[in-house]
Amino acid sequence: MTKILKAIVLIAALSSVMLVGCGGDANSNSAGTIDKDGHITIEFWYALGGNSGEVVEELVNQFNQSQTEITVIGTYQGGYASSMAKLWNALSAKTPPAVAQIGGAPLVGNTGAIIPITDFLNQSGDFDRDDIWEVFWDYNSAGGQIWSMPFNHSVPMLFYNRDLFISAGLDPDQPPETWDEVIQYGQLLTTDTDDNGEIDQWGFNTKDDTHWYLSTMFMENGVEIVNSDETEVLYTSPEAVEMLTLWGDFVHKHKIMPPNQHDESKGDFLAGKVGMLLMSSSNVPGTIQDAPFDVGVAMFPTIAGKERVVPVGGASLIILDHDNELIKQAAWTFIKYMANQESSLYLSTHTGYLPIYKAALEWPEMQSYLEDNHRSEEAILQLEYAESIPLFSALGSSDAQLRVAIEAIELGTSSPQEVLDHAKEVVDGVLLDNLQDQ
């Protein structure tokens, strides 16, 4: 009997330890700690994997070595979607980190969970806002507040296979500038290479984040994506329908793009089966490294006679609210370091992300980097045309609806006006519904 009693007590003890482990402590230890000597340790969640993730880790190391008061512990939380999910859950459980890297940061702004960067920018004289492109501040702002620090950003670009250009009789130094040229070049690049009656080399395609490229085309054609009150989306206008129609024409009329094959498109491009591909500029170094052919990188095509305009994408750094002023200040010190000129130079010369500083092209280190990596220059030059894409509470479902709309057009199941009307109905419903939470 005593043996059994002992066993029960032991198991009960173990169980309670487990339960305590599950529960965690709500406020104190998750974001950061301060030890007896005043040394601060804070948590940082980042969202870049692979090579880019190693670069972020290296920047964290450099920060830790640059001073002695603060230690930052960086943890990879999966890609943007997964990081966002974990952050939402952590906020729900009241165990957020001190700093996090997320995409669409201003969307978290109105939850009250993060401290606007504006507060810190105003109090510190050592950070000059004007050095950084205005578009990045816009991209990180909502409701008159800057919610997050610009960090890793990119723009959409046209990648092309220079070898295929030469085979098709095109000049690889003259990539297409307008959609008309894309169609014209695309038709020359689309062929049946093995004469089996099926096209196996396509002139044009986009990566699977199709909503981003369609949104860019909307912006080019002057389409406002959402109204200023954020109560309805505006992409049912004739200008929007015109661009989605053009998209459908790539498939059905001009036959330069295969229907609904965006998941395969990057692999196909690397295999030399696609002439031109729309992708984020963050892919520049990786694609050049992986492709067995000569890769060209050009600015995003424009509508003939209209001005060039591109959105910026990517992620930013947020400071989560915390009771302890010292931890908040440590978080600010850290993100200020992550966004300073040296870090921006390091990030943009070791990954495909863009420098956020206007003067980047004048930095000697950047110039010598671009001498060996000239294909990274177009994306930086394109920043001059960058505008912030609106961020609104239903952005997630809006993007999803645009992807479905594109699918339907490419598969030919309905008309551009119909699919955009449907998308608007769904997204407006979400926008209306979201008002209940705010």
Binding site: M1, I4, A7, I8, I11, A12, L14, S15, M18, L19, C22, A81, M84, A85, L87, W88, N89, L91, S92, V108, T111, A113, D194, N196, G197, E198, I199, D200, P258, P259, N260, Q261, D263, E264, D268, K273, G396, S397, A400, V404, E407, A408, L411, T413, E425, V426, G429, N434, Q436, D437
Partner: protein, 313 residues
Amino acid sequence: MSKTESLAKNTLSPSLQRKQRQRKESLAAYAFLAPSILIFAVFTFFPAIFSMVAGFFRWNLPYDPVFTGLSNFEFLFVDDIGAAEFGKSVLNTLYFMLGIPINICVSLWIAVMLNRRLPGVGIFRTAFFLPTLTSMAAISVVWMWLYHPADYGLFNTLLIRFGLPIQSWLRDPVLAMPCLIVLGVWRGMGYNIVIFLAGLQSIPHDLYEASEIDGANWWGQFRLITLPLLSPTTFYILIIGVINSLKAFAEIDIMTQGGPLGATTTLAYYLYQYAFQYFQIGLASAVAIVLFVFILVLTLIQFKVVEKRVHYG
């Protein structure tokens, strides 16, 4: 001590002893069960109850939950947009379950073929079992190459060789679901074959010998001996198959993300989209409740209808 007292004590004590021993044994049993009960309670039972409750709340992360009664179910069953997509995911789930009878037929046939004393039969048994051991993520990536929509995809290469037009497979709203079903059959049959083989080998051999003497042919033996005596095994495989197809996720997430045009959005994937892409925990929990009722009803039907036909030899 009177005579009656001592008698009573003598007659009572064995039962009392037995009771004590029983209590001791059950205490020990509970003690040993405690860790798994605890883990089950914390990670399965509690979340299940929790999501039953959450289904009646409006809970869009990171905002706090608000009780809204049946409004989530109203969205799923009444709302124009909600009911359309939810209804489609229910139909998709039923469609996906077509793979179960196909899987049962194919694996039973192969199991019968493999249930012989032939040289090299072990190699075949291993080969058929291999897909079951491989990670679904790896399988999905490889099958995406097989299903590649261009003319250099493996299946398209075969079609061209036979002079047939190439297909878009996973990128075609009509073909996407059949593609997933074929993959599911290929992947699931290894396990089913092993279970069927065990079932086949437990059928007494003398039944076949006796029927042979009575002049039964192969088909008669299969229909009147093998099938009925295998029915407990088939029943088990059916239930496992239903559960597996209701929770299928990895292949859908990797290969189609529920598309094209929602053609492969099953209930499980629909739930995932609402919980982890749109962060609508309340609505996702409501879907979980519906999924639970769905499984409950299916299981009850299986027990009521199918079990009548199951013979426990």
